[in-house]
């Protein structure tokens, strides 16, 4: 059962941040609530003050600028991202990822900011956004700052947010030319969280060798992680089976997955290898065509 709380509904971002700096630890923020409400119902999360920012003005938008890139307000729903013509055009990997996230119902109400702040290592958006070089703009009553997503996750369900900060915006730079990003998760049911998930983005040189590689693993460690050793094996290389194998092996070794009822650690590492090889290959081939 949910413990009783005082319900506060600010109208603006400023009001929200003031409330949070006032109540600090005594308050929790709800936006879509698709992760939070389950925890509250199970008694795992309880709070005296609940600050509802779902309808705060100025947090719900999808904008693109050829210099600044993509900017999405934290309260933008998954469904809006999934259906956005702009995102389908410029960041198709995001729309595809959203299409397989949870369920339509959850996507209609849950938000990108809430999802990222929840810091679930099995969450879908984080690895994809990481490979796109994304950052989050976070703010408190006093300050705003930009945190690269690579630095945003610090521990199991833990972000770099200070106790009076919330996520305000997700920023994705304009993709480089000759680049592509892809994502796949391994699960038994299409919209389940991945037992393992791999996102990969490849940027190629003119001769189709690898200029930059970003590989992000989902549910392979306490936090979403970059497979940096795997990335390094790829830089400067040509696409061939041996290179893919090397990247796959590297990723499977630097991953830190658990064993649970769904899969053993061994099998998870195997999936990291297989999916990394597949995603790198797919991103590479798409980047080559995109040129």
């Amino acid at each position: 059962m949910i413990k009783d709380f005082h319900y506060l509904r600010p109208n603006t971002v400023g009001e929200a941040l003031d409330l949070i700096s006032q109540y600090k630890d005594d308050c929790k923020i709800i936006c879509g609530g698709q992760s939070l409400l389950i925890l509250m119902r199970q008694g795992l999360v309880a709070t005296d003050y609940l600050v509802d920012i779902k309808r705060v003005q100025g947090l719900n938008y999808i904008n693109f600028d050829t210099n600044e890139g993509l900017k999405m307000g934290a309260a933008t729903t998954h469904r809006a991202i999934e259906k956005s013509a702009l995102i389908k055009d410029k960041f198709k990997v995001l729309a595809d990822m959203e299409n397989n996230l949870a369920s339509i119902q959850v996507r209609n109400w849950g938000t990108i900011g809430g999802n990222l702040a929840h810091a679930d290592a099995a969450g879908d958006p984080a690895p994809v956004l990481m490979t796109l070089g994304a950052s989050v703009k976070v703010g408190s009553a006093d300050d705003t700052r930009i945190i690269s997503l690579d630095q945003f996750y610090v521990g199991l369900f833990e972000t770099a947010l200070k106790e009076d900060e919330i996520v305000l915006e997700v920023q994705v730079p304009v993709p480089a030319s000759r680049s592509a990003a892809v994502y796949e998760k391994f699960n038994l049911l299409q919209s389940d969280q991945g037992i393992i998930a791999v996102a990969a983005s490849m940027t190629l040189n003119g001769d189709s060798t690898c200029k930059e590689a970003r590989i992000a693993l989902g549910n392979a460690a306490p936090t979403t992680m970059r497979a940096r050793k795997a990335e390094q094996t790829l830089v400067g290389g040509k696409l061939d089976d041996d290179l893919l194998e090397a990247a796959g092996v590297a990723a499977s070794e630097e991953a830190d997955p658990i064993s649970d009822i769904h899969a053993s650690e061994d099998y998870r590492r195997h999936l990291v290898k297989v999916l990394t090889m597949r995603m790198v290959k797919k991103a590479w081939e798409q980047a080559a065509i995109s040129a």
Binding site: I2, K3, D4, F5, H6, Y7, R9, I30, G33, Q34, L37, I38, M40, R41, Q42, L50, D52, K54, R55, R79, N99, A102, S103, I104, Q105, V106, N108, W109, Q190, S191
Partner: protein, 161 residues
């Protein structure tokens, strides 16, 4: 705990309620307003039996604070019929046997309506994705897919009645 005023329209009827702010939308619908068509089948936002439409969007009402729906329009399965005339989706469900025990049906109907309103010409794969958030233990889903496909193909248009 202080109660909050909630103004909500359900099935085109306006309501004013004072509720404990921790009330979930499904609790307001079922317990406060007595619309028991909408069901609950889990605690993990997995089964979809509680699906309703909020301003035309399919949402799991067990996973929404009622206060967040203040001033919005909710539709439940009881709101599909129009003066006793069944909605095309309801007719299609009857014709195709797209339910058995019926417990998932209200939620399934609302997901279906929201989906077809948004995507009136879906492929069968898209229909399957459209109801992916709703579990059914009885039908194996295929009869539901056939029913929705028939609606999408125009078999239940008013002019064909």
């Amino acid at each position: 705990m202080e109660k909050h005023l909630l103004r909500i329209t359900v099935n085109e009827q306006e309501y004013e309620l004072y509720i404990n702010p921790k009330s979930l939308l499904v609790e307001v619908i079922r317990d406060h307003l007595g619309f028991t068509g909408t069901k609950r089948g889990c605690e993990s936002v997995s089964c979809g039996a509680c699906t309703v439409m909020i301003d035309g969007m399919a949402v799991k009402s067990c996973s929404v604070l009622a206060m967040q729906v203040d001033g919005m329009n909710v539709t439940t399965s009881e709101g599909l019929e129009e003066k006793g005339q069944l909605h095309p989706i309801q007719k299609a469900f009857l014709d195709h046997g797209a339910y058995q025990c019926g417990f998932c049906t209200s939620g399934m109907l609302m997901s279906s309506k929201a989906f077809l309103d948004e995507n009136p010409n879906p492929t069968t794969h898209e229909i399957r994705e459209g109801i992916e958030g709703n579990l059914c233990r009885c039908t194996g889903y295929n009869s539901i897919v056939r029913a929705l496909d028939a609606v999408a193909k125009g078999n239940y248009r008013e002019d064909k009645a």
